[in-house]
Symmetry: C2
Subunit: 332 residues, 2 copies
């Protein structure tokens, strides 16, 4: 696995040379899990510590996450920091969902040479999206972007998992979402490092800010980062400099407290598990005997002779018994 | 696995006797994956074909899914069909998120002896929620409800997977969601059997209905079920009888065309795979040698000496090699 196939060597060379087309191709390689993709990732990740800071934007559809992300990206570009963007929100303009008015701003961003935008399709099997997205983020880091921005829709378990791959998470809400406090219960409260009340020039903004602030106070203590609640009008750029400063402050806090290292270690463990589980899953279902058993088991379930528990039991037995036997043999 | 532990026998007896407290306890057993939960599920599923029809309600937060679900549940109760409800939407009133005005209706429903409501927590590991929810749905079926209603928020990959466990999926949108067509791109279009435009007495309803109808026409042909787009005001009960009729019509279509059997067979295969993968995952990570390797691997990743790919490779080797050896030995 660790050996990069010869066919991928030119791609690897171009990637290392910083060619953007190579990044695009590498992402496709990873997304489609084509042969050698893990070796490729291993090779680029081996080349030293990644430096890119990851900033996640999450919130309900219509909260203006993409517009805000574009504004923040522009701020980084203005100080010559390169930016990679990964959009996992299928309703995002970055993913092809064009929101009138925002479209021009998005196109401006998309044609800037300092920025690279990739939208992740939300197809694929359960759990697959989260793993693939994390690997695309790794590619972005390895390619050398100073900032990697992630946009996810703030509802849904897989999406929250992806957001957890960011160093700093910005939760974006709007007065008219109305479900502000409701949504917070859904897990946003736990992952937010910074709250943004976007479209803050509309009625209800003050009430929403008050709601969020009191919800923050109810959070369990022991976390000495004081979560800011920022008033932003992304369309006009109002409040964006303050957001950029808050992100810096959070980054400094992460480093000072050792929280950054702790979070990255936790993520590393999850990644090792994920990659191992994916490989084991594939080995299991690619095995001829297991596939035979699966087909027979599904028939039996359809005929009412078995349940999925008894059918799965047979498959697990097929896979595990041999391992157990072998273990016993090794101990002889 | 297939033997129900003696300690669970009284619960099983009470469950079979139709005691509601036993259903509640069985759900807790399954949610927490306590010892014997799979044997329990196997036992109740073995007792014959399930009869309950599953109806899923999905759509963005604030679309009024819960109110609509309560209205449809009342319609079933009025004709003496018992109803089980599983809410996976964390913003749902069923999950504790009380929406003013709806609350009374929900409480009415909750105290009706013909109905049983359970809200699923959205905690748990990736993929775990989908599997647990399916098992709770199985318990509801086995307990003997004529109708099992599922509420999920219509964004998020895990949530869409859960919705796929329903025989008939109702997608609920509202004029003011504005993101109507955007949301549809997010996979709702593919899973909808029936569209409901709720709060249809508000401005924008006609435009939304038109948008949905033309999007339906763009769908790939080969599916001879004509997806209805219904105009509903759930708060006033308007359009609810028409929705109930549409659900019946879809149910009849499912049976007539063999689509019901095909969908259930597809789901059975996924279930066998899921249950087997869960067991194999557990066996893998419970193994002492594997855990040792994991700890060593995570350290190596943190120190930059390895990547998660090489670390995972070592774990996979530990698990698989023995199996391969054994296979080779068996063929000698």
């Amino acid at each position: 696995m660790i050996e990069v196939p010869a066919g991928l060597q030119p791609l690897l060379d171009d990637f290392r040379a910083g060619k953007r087309i190579a990044l695009a191709r590498a992402i496709t390689l990873v997304e489609n899990e084509r042969e050698g993709f893990q070796a490729f990732l291993h090779a680029v990740l081996s080349e030293g510590a990644r430096r890119g800071r990851r900033l996640g934007f999450t919130g309900p559809p219509g909260a203006g996450k993409s517009t805000l992300l574009a504004e923040v990206a522009s701020a980084y570009l203005a100080r010559s920091e390169s930016v990679g963007v990964v959009a996992v929100d299928p309703t995002s303009p970055f993913s092809g969902g064009a929101l009138l008015g925002d479209r021009i701003r998005m196109n401006d961003l998309a044609t800037d040479p300092g920025v690279f935008i990739r939208s992740m399709a939300t197809r694929g099997s359960l759990g697959g999206l989260a793993t693939s997205t994390r690997e695309v983020l790794d590619l972005m880091d390895s390619f050398g972007f100073a900032r990697v921005l992630i946009e996810t829709v703030g509802v849904g378990q897989t999406e929250l998992e992806i957001t957890g791959a960011a160093d700093t998470v910005v939760v974006v809400l709007v007065p008219e979402s109305g479900d502000g406090v409701q949504a917070m219960k859904a897990g946003l409260m736990e992952i937010a490092d910074i709250f943004v009340v976007n479209k803050a020039d509309r009625p209800g903004a003050d009430r929403l800010i008050k709601e969020i602030s009191s919800a923050i106070h109810l959070r369990a203590p022991g976390n000495d980062w004081a979560i800011p609640v920022l008033r932003v009008v992304a369309q006009k750029g109002e409040g964006v400099p303050e957001l950029v400063l808050a992100v810096e402050a959070h980054g400094a806090w992460l480093e000072r407290t050792g929280e950054l290292a702790a979070r990255r270690r936790g993520r590393a463990e999850r990644r090792v598990r994920d990659v191992a589980e994916r490989a084991l899953r594939r080995l299991t279902w690619d095995d001829d005997r297991v596939r035979q058993r699966l087909a027979i088991g599904v028939d039996a379930v359809a005929n009412g002779r078995e349940t999925w528990y008894s059918a799965a039991d047979g498959i697990v037995g097929e896979v595990v018994q041999s391992r157990v036997h072998n273990r016993a043999r090794n101990q002889e």
